[in-house]
Amino acid sequence: MIRLTCFFILFGIVLSAQQAIAGDTSILARPHAAAADAVITLPAGFSFTKMIGDLGRARHIVVAANGDVFVKLDKLKNGKGIYRLHDSNGDGKPDQVTGFGNYTGTGITIKNGYLYASSNTEVFRYKINEQTGEVDQASEQKIVTGLWDKRQHESKSLTLDNEGNIYVNIGAPSNDCQVQDRVKGSPGQDPCPILDSAGGIWQFKADQLNQSYATGTRYATGLRNVVGLDWNNESNDLYVMQHGRDMLFQFYPEMYDQKAGAENPAEEMFRIKKGADCGWPYCYYDNDKKGKLLNPEYGGDRNKTGRCDEKTKSIMQFPGHLAPNGLLFYTGSAFPAKYKNGAFIAFHGSWNRSPEPQAGYYVAFVPFKDGMPSGKWEIFANGFAGSNINRAAYKPCGLAQDKDGSLYVSDDNNGTIWKISYGGKK
């Protein structure tokens, strides 16, 4: 009898434990790989220091003239969406870490005494004393409002030119503007109505309040989603990195085998002139065919170019799905001469390569001369993924440069910031 009682008690415990698990998400296995096994590798002469970790979703970053690093978070940490890292004793670790701004987002930059930051619908600016890193929070101004945030491709990245304009990416909330987004067999909408409000770069005045679509200018269109963008002061042009479309293998296996679907389409770098149309959703760049082709949703057969012949061509192409989230033209003199005016790109890493292995999770470099690529791209900083490429430990997202010429990289998987310096011969 005692045995039987014990049995039923035990059975009851097991049952209720199962019930508890079924109703509780707190035991969810976190997909983050152990960061401990990620060893970051750099070219000879370069070294890195880890400034800080555990900031969470650290998206874009910027460094003030005094060396303070500002981080935009896509998930509030202690109720704050912007963090300032101040290192007063110069040991490479911030000793004052303070937050402000109660909105999540991606974009952050500094220009002419103002710190600019974005939520997924708005752009704000604050007066900043670049010599001390002090931000006057009371000076907050909302300069752009009402931009589309339909969840997909919601990041609003920021850069400014030298004539008082700010450029904001508005990603298309869509994979390829199908009637039913991401449904196999659903046709492409032609013309694509999304392009009126998203899928491009919008230009606003840096100093005017409450601008929106009606007062802004669609500076470039046909860009599915841009997260990494930068103004190149040498060529005085805007450069952007486009995230190419997903699902070529899954939707069109008769044209793209598993490998082709992983390698295509290219992630593309564009040099943007006002009025540029870069082709999305009608066109994509095929890495195997080496050219801009019609998307299958718009009648493409992996050979036809059709209207794509008239679209703005990219100036460099990269393997598929690597997700270029940060772009920075290096203007410093601390690195060897070949890096001067070249482009660093933070590749966040892929997901639409499965069941092929994922790829990316590195910082690449493209040498430039006179505003155009002057050589092949190469991997500059690698190893962020750690031992399991399918569950990356770190995902590079933002890039920044300080006045001494060091390069900073952010990771939005754990919220890590690294500083990369050069100590070798030049």
Binding site: R3, F11, L28, Y103, M247, S354, N390
Partner: protein, 158 residues
């Protein structure tokens, strides 16, 4: 000691017979469901079912998968806009494409049974009857089972 042993054996026998009574034919359904998963779901939710941070939610040990079966089937049938799912304070921005015209009732039952019994999950089978009921239900909130941390919008400055 012997008594404990007998109790343990009894326990496992009873527990396993209980499970099999609850889930007849589950093995065949799981096997069929794996094929559906690999063809339709794996691209976004990944081979390990853990999804993609910020984009595609994990399917592992979450109430969205292990909870109400009709609500789960409804997500597969009608899809999601993106942002509805919140797990431990993280949200996921990619839309879930509706499979209403893509998968049969049997395929949806199989793939959900597979997901509920793979990646470390353990839960009862989803039946064709569950899927049929989910197809015709007009309750839009079926995709939002009661949650102690309801889906919330990204805080935006007013």
């Amino acid at each position: 000691m012997k008594n404990i042993f007998i109790t343990a054996v009894l326990f496992f026998l009873l527990a396993s017979s209980f499970t099999s009574k609850q889930q007849p034919g589950i093995k065949a359904s799981i096997d069929r469901g794996k094929k559906v998963y690999n063809a339709t779901c794996l691209a976004c939710h990944q081979a390990d079912g853990l999804g993609v941070e910020r984009m595609n939610p994990p399917l592992v040990k979450t109430k969205w998968v292990l909870g109400n079966k009709k609500a789960l089937a409804k997500i597969v049938i009608d899809g999601l806009k993106g942002g509805e799912i919140e797990i431990d304070g993280d949200d996921f921005h990619n839309p879930m494409p509706p499979q209403r015209g893509q998968l049969t009732d049997q395929q949806i039952a199989d793939v959900l049974t597979y997901v509920r019994n793979n990646f470390g999950n353990k839960a009862s089978a989803v039946t064709v009857a569950d899927v049929k009921a989910a197809r015709t239900t007009t309750v839009a909130v079926a995709a939002r089972p009661a949650s102690k941390t309801p889906a919330k919008k990204t805080p935006v400055k007013q």
